[in-house]
Symmetry: C2
Subunit: 340 residues, 2 copies
DNA sequence: CTGTTAGCGCCTTCAT
DNA sequence: ATGAAGGCGCTAACAG
């Protein structure tokens, strides 16, 4: 168990080796002030010879910067985690930041501050929807601590930058597709959790699509999906049991669509012949469902990438774009009734 | 842009507030030495009143411990990331460790040391298969830096502890199932990447299953799957094109099974009537394939949990179990030919 | 059990 | 452009 302490080469040893004081070395590394040619080469040689690696912790103590980004998620975000992470990790490492990641036990158990991630161990936080309480957000805002929100608008009065996807227009288009191409009239909407902004915009898009063709909005057709398979399944079963007629389902997300498909299949309803089903997100799963799911593709990896870029910018310049919306696109597969 | 520096409450302020010196406070927090009742309560009050949060960096500088676990993955591990992470995160946070995670661009681009994660910013590393080069492993081993391997045996001569799943027996059993229950005789095996240990054991299990019933091993039936959908698909297409007869395929992992299913479907072969297909891992995806995939369930979340436990133990005591194998279980679905 | 104090390794004014 | 020296906030001897 060798400790870092024992085998660590310090800046002073390099100084001795290069026959200069420690200051030029620090400056040479940080590039904060020019260093003479001569000294530079001497340092440039001495450092690798001694295998000098600056001690991150000492540097942090001195500068009170961590060069670390924090990422907050909840257990619910499982299927988003992987692509999101890969986007974030990419820009973090390019920008020279480490990535500290923490998950709260369950959604709804909103985490308060102090959380495992904060000013003490990160320079800024990426906060995925629902992973930090409103109080927590207000707290970091007061602190002026850099935070960018992902798939979530800031609460009233706060100014935190946010990156998410374009929800409304895509929702309108996919519902229009159901109406115009597949002649659907009684279209169910399975909404997400109450506090989810994406879901609200998707619902707005849904209602808007009904307007032009003059299809009356029927509140009976709006059900709880909560972005959860089991809940969506239960809602669909209840609807079926109630005998409410419907010929299509726009599921607030693909996860819920899985539950819809199960319920429909169990009830002997044929998809898409009897009822069309479409979703939102285009999770990896979605292409493999039976039938393959027509859905709106959200570029999750890009969301992660852009969010991380915004955070780095915010940390470095104090500025970030208040809102960036990534474009979405409909992926036509068979569940809506399209041939292929 | 408030810096942590400005608003940070130091231990000295707490000392003043509690009318003691800094030492008892430190001891009170670290619990390294008993503190008198009186002082303890005074400190216990002063800390929250001042919202004192010990500065991690200062502590690290002083102790040369980071209280952080590192997790190394590659982009290929996408579908494992989420459950694995959730297991690791759980024990890390319970044990009071932060989790730093880093991904190498692609598998095969084995990362060398110094990598973004190492002794400078972590107390130990969780190394997922293929995410660190052999040279890197030898390096950390020499250093005596705590590392536990996940889904990978240590290279020759190294002693690094490893946690993975039981591969061989389960493979034997699932192939036996194909033979005994579904009367399959010409069973293809799609192996994983050359350097993957799991795949080797799965192949061993496969060959063993053929022995008892006296089915000759046919090298023509062993194809490259590489744990990649596209490669597995190509291999299956080639086999079909060659006209080599077969009535079942045991895919080295579920990912490859997806490619097999695609190729078979495209060729008009009916699964499971004409050919049975089984996989390994039980990814989330697998239950939703057409037909639902019979496969061996690897408890990925548990692997992550146990690996993190081992690492914490290794960090704290210098000891860990050399090898822990988590049990696996066959999940029967329809792709093998079972009714449900 | 408590207080004092010397580092931990680096960065950064401040003179030079 | 360079050197000297004082922190950054905490921990861990060492005295008391």
């Amino acid at each position: 168990m060798t400790k870092a302490k024992n085998d660590s080469v310090t800046i002073r040893q390099v100084a001795k080796r290069a026959e200069v004081s420690v200051a030029p070395i620090s400056r040479y590394i940080i590039k904060t002030t020019p260093v003479s040619e001569e000294v530079a080469t001497r340092i440039g040689e001495a450092m690798p010879e001694l295998k000098f690696i600056p001690d991150v912790n000492a540097r942090r103590l001195a500068t009170s910067k961590t060069h670390t980004l924090g990422m907050l998620v909840t257990e619910m975000h499982g299927d988003f985690l992987s692509p999101m992470f890969s986007g974030i990790e990419k820009v973090a490492s390019e920008a020279g930041f480490d990535l500290l990641i923490s998950s709260s036990a369950r959604s709804g158990a909103h985490r308060e501050f102090p959380s495992p991630l904060g000013p003490h161990n990160t320079d800024g936080l990426l906060v995925f929807w629902d992973s930090l309480s409103e109080a927590g957000l207000r707290y970091v805002d007061e602190l002026g601590f850099p935070v960018v929100l992902i798939h979530q608008a800031p609460p009233e009065g706060l100014n935190l930058p946010c990156v998410t996807v374009e929800n409304q227009a895509a929702s309108t288009r996919i519902v229009e597709h159901l109406i115009e191409v597949h002649q659907r009239q009684r279209i169910v909407f399975l909404r997400g959790p109450q506090n989810n902004d994406d879901s609200r915009w998707r619902e707005t898009g849904y209602r808007q699509a009904l307007e032009a063709p003059g299809i009356p909005f029927d509140p009976q057709l709006v059900l709880a999906g909560d972005f959860e398979r089991t809940i969506a399944q239960a809602s669909t079963e209840a609807l079926l049991a109630a005998g409410t007629p419907f010929d299509a389902v726009f599921s607030g997300d693909d996860e819920a669509a899985v539950g819809v498909l199960s319920a429909l299949c169990a009830a002997g309803k044929r998809v898409p012949e009897e009822v069309s089903v479409v979703g939102f997100d285009d999770q990896r799963l979605s292409a493999y469902l039976t039938p393959p799911l027509t859905t709106v593709r959200a570029q999750t990896e890009a969301v992660g990438r852009v969010a991380a870029q915004q955070l780095v910018k915010l940390i470095r310049t104090g500025q970030a774009d208040p809102l960036v919306l990534l474009p979405t696109e409909i992926i036509f597969r068979r569940s809506c009734g399209c041939p292929e």
